[in-house]
């Protein structure tokens, strides 16, 4: 099977958040939060809606809270600067309505002032084909369905090809079949990267995550209940995920 990525060895760092703190007027989302994302591993973050997952991801991505106070330091394990090594996929697709699907995928290069070479175009088209929206490459986002938009946003993130990937519910609008396929694709393409995936689907977390993280409570605290074994993407039956799934659901229920 072809890979759109040239074989460029990337050294993915671990990520460490210390003293993470976020408060909105009269509401403390989290407080003195510590978190380590192991290098070159997939961590999956689960937690009840509104607990602060997106906020945490934003802090890791170096973004500020619009109306809140955010504190804490985010650093890479290798001590090198982090920001330019991160690709961030937000909960909303954030496609630019005036740019075609292909242009949206290439936007990172444009924003960094890098030229769009033919091989960039090819790579983008290959990823679009992988997420099955290649046919719409020249369409504007307004002509896409919700799931197609999400897939374009995913393609944009994959295209960025960074050592650290932060994704906020990247598969939430996809049907079960497509979702599985794209999980497998992401695992393959993002092998060796440090990934944090926010998801609402415990089975998804178990299939692709090396570490499962739980954010719960108010102010929210991090728990790391389990680390499935075997290499991702795992299979429900083959890799014995069902007991883990039941366990995870129980823990989530306790969290809610």
């Amino acid at each position: 099977m072809h890979s759109p990525f040239p074989d460029k060895p990337q050294t993915a760092p671990s990520i460490v958040l210390t003293g993470g703190h976020l408060r909105f007027a009269g509401k403390e989302v989290f407080h003195n939060l510590h978190l380590t994302l192991p290098a070159a591993k997939w961590s999956c973050l689960l937690g009840p809606s509104g607990v602060g997952k997106t906020s945490l991801l934003r802090q890791l991505a170096g973004l500020r809270a619009e109306d809140g106070e955010m504190e804490g330091t985010v650093a890479a394990g290798d001590g090198a600067p982090l920001p330019e090594r991160i690709a961030y996929m937000a909960q909303q697709d954030l496609l630019l309505p005036w740019a075609t699907v292909l242009e949206n995928v290439l936007i990172g290069r444009k924003l960094r002032g890098e030229p769009i070479r033919p091989q960039d175009r090819d790579k983008a088209m290959a990823i679009l084909a992988d997420v099955d929206v290649a046919r719409e490459a020249d369409a504007l986002p307004a002509a896409l369905s919700g799931g197609m938009r999400q897939r374009v946003a995913l393609a944009r993130t994959l295209f960025e090809d960074r050592p650290v990937i932060l994704m906020d519910e990247p598969f939430s609008s996809l049907d079960a079949i497509t979702r599985r396929r794209l999980q497998d694709l992401a695992v393959r393409l993002l092998a060796g990267r440090t990934v944090l995936l926010v998801t609402h689907d415990p089975m998804e977390a178990l299939r692709v995550g090396d570490d499962i993280l739980l954010l719960k409570g108010s102010p929210a605290r991090i728990q790391a209940p389990m680390s499935p074994t075997g290499s991702a993407p795992r299979q429900e039956d083959r890799d014995g995920l069902w007991p883990l799934y039941a366990e995870l659901l129980k823990q989530l229920g306790a969290a809610a």
Binding site: A61, E66, I86, A90, K110, L111, R112, A142
Partner: protein, 251 residues
């Protein structure tokens, strides 16, 4: 189809005009009837056209420079916080000062030629364009900017690929206003000092009480203003091709 509608619109305006004349029983020397004006127009078409070209050139140049200046100012204000603090009041003052008061000064500095009229048109167009574009620039959707930041966007590229396109619809609003009022700028400039142009012709005709001829010049000016507006409008629609217009009560 569109041509027909345009003709009907035009006829409708003439009828409206005639109605106003009839209803208010305005004497010819204050508001002449459309037919009188048409006759006046037909009598000296060469003279009218010759002066019209001057005015049209002033308007177009004014619109061009005013837009460019407005775009640049809006960008500067939006990008540099200090610029906003210091430039915005200057901008508002420049606007609150009646151009008429500045007109004699402009003429003394720039002479009685075309530059002073173009400057006047620029002054008039400048503010609506700047204000609207600036407004658009400062309202860029936060999510896009966050995305761009995580991608390591340069300031310039973020501006070019996100903030400017996102502000284009607002810019369009401002430019439409600018296009509609550009003719005033040029004509006011001509009133203050000139030896050619429709404004000059109008002053002249007004002083001689050739009110029908004055309205002929006015009609020419209005037609040009209308054409300019709809051309700009058309261009702007092209420019913001992704914008869907809502006319929710069409059906």
């Amino acid at each position: 189809m569109r041509a027909i509608r345009l003709c009907i619109t035009f006829a409708g305006l003439l009828v409206l005009w005639q109605l106003i004349v009839t209803a208010t029983a305005a004497p010819t020397y204050i508001l002449p009837a459309p037919l009188d004006v048409a006759i006046a127009m037909a009598e000296r078409p060469g003279l009218l056209l010759q002066h019209a070209w001057v005015t049209f050139a002033e308007i177009l140049l004014g619109l061009l420079f005013g837009t460019i200046l407005g775009i640049v100012s809006a960008l500067v204000i939006a990008l540099f916080r200090p610029a906003k603090r210091w430039l915005l009041p200057v901008l508002v003052i420049s606007q609150a000062l009646p151009v008429f008061a500045l007109a004699p000064l402009l003429v003394l500095w720039l002479g009685y030629g075309m530059p002073s009229k173009v400057a006047m048109a620029v002054l008039i167009i400048y503010f609506p364009v700047t204000a609207a574009f600036y407004d658009g620039l400062r309202r860029t959707e936060g999510g896009w900017l966050d995305l761009a930041r995580t991608m390591g966007a340069t300031r310039g590229a973020m501006l070019r690929h996100i903030r400017i396109p996102a502000a284009l619809p607002a810019f369009g609003s401002g430019l439409r206003v600018g296009a509609a009022i550009a003719p005033i700028g040029a004509v006011v400039g001509e009133w203050v000092g000139s030896s050619a142009g429709l404004g000059y012709l109008m002053l002249h005709a007004n002083a001689r009480m050739q009110v029908d001829f004055m309205f002929a010049a006015l009609a020419l000016l209005a037609s040009f203003g209308l054409a300019l507006y709809f051309t700009v409008d058309f261009g702007l629609r092209r420019l913001t091709y992704w914008q869907r217009e809502q006319s929710p009560f069409d059906d």
